[in-house]
């Protein structure tokens, strides 16, 4: 009896210690290609530069603390010879695009989840879980202004017409003067905003955790329409021609017309956080079911998926395209290059493998 009790107790302890670990924070940094180099962040907190043609590593730089177990959420952006991205520990880091040395760092007061945005070659805008958005000088990382919202900011920015747009987990979409950081208007959505907004022809599109996608007049912040999905919309909408495309955590990819009416929807087996992109007439996005999908953009019919059989780890980041090649990374740090037209694999690279 006593032995049984002890055995039971230890089973319990193992169970508890098993599920009580710190929450996973591997990140979902996606790749970006600039010239012939692909840049991507890893679950181990490293930035990699790979040869986009062959997948050969050019350099890697660890940008988180040595003991850190958090990965990178922010995808890199490249401008003027520098690669920028944020860390979950709260830093914004600029690295030399050629060699990978850290040029400057800027410390925010909370985790940086979103991909930074370049404003011309002068500014880099960064959002942080410390509730703030920062405008930094791109060359040296010095702060120009900051603006505080009422909640953590996990989405990125949209820029246009002298205004910077950001959504906050406080449920509001803010339009700020890009020069001064002064608030011009704000819009209260029905739920927290984790999605990066998209600006297209004077209309701002973004998703919210109230399951809706909103279209606002970018100048005034007046709502033009809203569309309701069946779960949160975290993915950044894509606008092209007469269509608005976005994924939802309800597992579906939606295509709406510019008045907010549904044209088609396509169901996958997992939550879609990945923002779609268009290449060669295909709408391409990743899903939590571990597949990358390429759909006919007009009718939403599947043209190909990768992989055909089996599945990868979840794909949460936005794919990237350069020339005839499509690049994406799956959760856990595997980078793939595929041919756009048929999804046949060209190369793959495992991040954090050596050391």
């Amino acid at each position: 009896m006593l032995k049984a009790k002890i055995a039971l107790l230890f089973t319990l302890l193992i169970l508890i210690s098993g599920c009580a670990r710190q929450a996973p924070a591997s990140g979902w940094s996606g790749p970006i290609v600039s010239g012939d180099t692909l840049y991507v962040g890893s679950p181990g907190g490293r930035v990699y530069a790979l040869d986009a043609l062959t997948g050969q590593k050019r350099w890697e730089t660890k940008i988180v603390e040595e003991k850190s177990t958090t990965g990178l959420y922010s995808s890199p952006i490249v401008g003027e010879g520098l690669v920028y991205l944020g860390t979950f520990e709260g830093k914004v880091v600029a690295l030399d695009a050629e060699k990978g040395q850290i040029r400057w760092e800027f410390e925010t007061g909370g985790a940086v989840v979103a991909t930074p945005l370049l404003g011309g070659d002068t500014f880099v805008y960064v959002t942080s879980s410390d509730h703030k958005v920062y405008a930094l000088r791109a060359q040296d990382g010095s702060k120009v202004w900051e603006f505080e919202t009422g909640g953590r900011i996990w989405g990125g920015e949209a820029l246009g017409g002298g205004l910077l747009y950001i959504g906050s987990l406080d449920g509001r979409l803010y339009a700020l003067d890009e020069e001064s950081g002064e608030k011009v208007w704000e819009f209260q959505a029905g739920g927290a905003i984790a999605s990066t907004p998209r600006l297209a022809q004077g209309v701002l599109y973004f998703g919210s955790l109230d399951n809706k996608v909103y279209a606002l007049d970018a100048d005034s912040g007046e709502k033009i329409w809203e569309f309701q999905a069946q779960n949160w919309v975290w993915s950044q909408p894509l606008v092209s021609g007469d269509r608005v495309y976005f994924g939802s955590l309800d597992h579906k990819m939606y295509a709406l017309d510019r008045e907010g009416n549904e044209v088609w929807e396509f169901e996958t087996g997992g939550a879609i956080r990945s923002s779609p992109l268009l290449a060669q007439g295909l709408l391409i996005f990743g899903s939590g079911d571990g597949h990358l999908y390429a759909l006919d953009r007009e009718r939403g019919k599947e043209i190909w998926r990768f992989p055909q059989e089996e599945s990868l780890a979840a794909i949460y980041s936005r794919p990237s395209v350069a020339q005839e090649t499509l690049y994406f990374s799956s959760y856990g740090g595997q980078v793939y290059a595929l041919r756009i037209e048929d999804g046949s694999p060209l190369w793959e690279f495992e991040l954090d493998k050596e050391g």
């Binding site: 319990l12 599920c19 924070a25 953590r152």
Partner: protein, 266 residues
């Protein structure tokens, strides 16, 4: 098979609890610590019939203890006869020696579920928040309304970020104290010296181990352990009183106060 079991677990345990937790959060002043306390109380109430059975069976065993010890003395030399007579004694009083275990085994999934749902709802990392989206009942209008207004939940409480360990070590101390007290209350003098010393070791080791876990897990879970421990102590008090505290769990052979065991906690 494993996948189906996991799905079943999610559907009947995890999802209802997560939605209940979000509902309680909104009812209890958007305070996540209160929501944890509320859900723990609620589940203690729902599982009360089982707990009562378990505690009563334990009490009967305690009451039988003097008779058991007499039997042990009488059949010291004859183990087989001892077992036989012990079982007979149990039968006469309608006690199933494993009966104390069964209600506990039934409750266990509920406690593990509660534990997981707290962990899930805290949503400190983007992955966690995204997972949470898959558990919310989006199609139930009033739950959708609550979820859209409250998520992500505010996980600040007093000095605590409920998703992170307590920086001032107050919760680990509380956890050790409640677990120790509960162990102590349910500890029993055992006729077998080896078992007595095992019991003794357990009653010290277990609180310490949970205290150690508390140093590493989110303080929301630690709050759940403390509240659940305190409620357990109260329930135990109404059945056995403070008796377990007054008696030393050592091999005595004398007939003093309550006997038999019951192990703590989930």
């Amino acid at each position: 098979m494993v996948g189906q079991l996991g799905q079943l677990w999610t559907t009947i345990i995890l999802e209802p609890m997560i939605n209940l937790l979000v509902l309680l959060y909104s009812l209890l002043f958007n305070n996540f610590a209160l929501a944890i306390v509320g859900l723990t109380i609620l589940i203690r109430l729902i599982t009360y019939p089982l707990t009562r059975k378990q505690l009563q069976s334990m009490k009967t065993m305690q009451e039988l203890s003097p008779k058991l010890q007499a039997l042990q003395k009488k059949y010291e030399k004859n183990k087989e006869k001892l077992t036989e007579e012990t079982m007979k004694l149990y039968r006469e009083h309608g006690v199933n020696p494993a009966g104390g275990c069964l209600p506990m085994l039934i409750q266990m999934p509920v406690w593990i579920g509660l534990y997981q749902s707290i962990y899930q709802v805290l949503g400190e990392t983007p992955e966690q928040l995204m997972n949470l989206s898959q558990y919310i009942y989006h199609s139930v209008p009033f739950l959708y309304e609550i979820a859209r207004r409250t998520i992500p939940l505010n996980n600040r409480f007093l000095w605590l970020n409920l998703a992170l360990p307590d920086p001032y070590y107050i919760l680990p101390i509380l956890v050790v104290a409640t677990f120790w007290l509960q162990q102590k209350m349910s500890a029993v003098p055992s006729a077998d010296p080896q078992q007595a010393s095992m019991n003794q070791t357990m009653s010290i080791m277990m609180p310490l181990m949970f205290g150690f876990f508390t140093l590493q897990v989110s303080s929301g879970l630690a709050i759940y352990w403390v509240v659940s421990g305190v409620l357990g102590i109260i329930q135990q008090y109404f059945v056995t009183g403070w008796a377990g505290l007054r008696t030393q769990p050592v091999a005595s052979g004398k007939e003093d106060g309550p006997k038999k065991k019951r192990r703590g906690k989930r």
